[in-house]
Symmetry: C2
Subunit: 164 residues, 2 copies
Amino acid sequence: MLSNSRVAYREHNHLRCQNAAMQRARSLCEQHKVRLTPIRENVLRLLWQSHRPLGAYEIIEQLSDAGEKSVKPPTVYRAIDFLLEQGLAHRLATLNAYIGCPFPGNPHRFAVFVCQACGSAAESSFEAIDNAIGAAAARADFEVHGQAVEVTGLCPQCRGKADD
Amino acid sequence: MLSNSRVAYREHNHLRCQNAAMQRARSLCEQHKVRLTPIRENVLRLLWQSHRPLGAYEIIEQLSDAGEKSVKPPTVYRAIDFLLEQGLAHRLATLNAYIGCPFPGNPHRFAVFVCQACGSAAESSFEAIDNAIGAAAARADFEVHGQAVEVTGLCPQCRGKADD
DNA sequence: CGCATAACGTTATAACATTACATAAATATG
DNA sequence: CATATTTATGTAATGTTATAACGTTATGCG
């Protein structure tokens, strides 16, 4: 089981998270002979500015604010598509938002746990979930190609606060 | 385990499916003292015209074609919201589409299996999936409030055809 | 009946995403 | 190294999904 839940919801040195993620991305892109262009790199860095999923238009706005010229939707969507294809980011369908993947390079099915209070998301690659989905599919003779598992609720931190 | 996968992907007397669903809906609404108005009933019937999830704008179009006057988005979205609240329908976030719930009245977490070839969706309420999600959440001290499990792949029928 | 609430009608707009086509940058090839 | 090819980006327009705001009608209740 791979999970970043121990870190995602807590105070932590996030700069290290971010830098490590960028380093992994650079190395994987080199390895796969694809180009992590400045735009793509900037979008990924924005996704890693926190553990909160980011909408495409938030990215557009932030990039526009940062640079001189306004960045147009296709520019960002193309970068996002690239990151999704390379497994460097994931799309959260329930939020229309995107997160950086903490385990790129490990082809994996995964589940995302999004805190309704603070908005932070952790990713967990827990075989029992995939196995259970596989078992349910097997009963129906269904051949699984992909899955989206998105869980909402309260993270440990916010749960503590809500218990007051 | 509750599932309609045995019926959803096959040829079957769908009129019975549809009528049974409408009957359940009427009875549940009566029971809960809420009103299944004509608009709401029509939207639910459209959702039950097949096992293919329907987009809101497809519903709008069909309702507009059926009646004299063009039906506006809020009308349909309000009906959908009602059906979702009452557990008579579900939203599929990955498709931006809606399906009638085959097991209303049984409060349940569920997974949906959508065939990429024919578009049909089956719903399955399989405890092992929920338990696995619960276990992963427990490890992270995460309190689950809701889940969206959407699986894509090939249904038994389409799988057979694809094997040629 | 008269009032309160719930449902619906209508217009406009917000939020998310893509198409189509032009330009530029990187890479491959002779 | 010139140039052809591919890959990436710029830009305008539009498509798709969903909601806000506000007025009107229908329903149920004292």
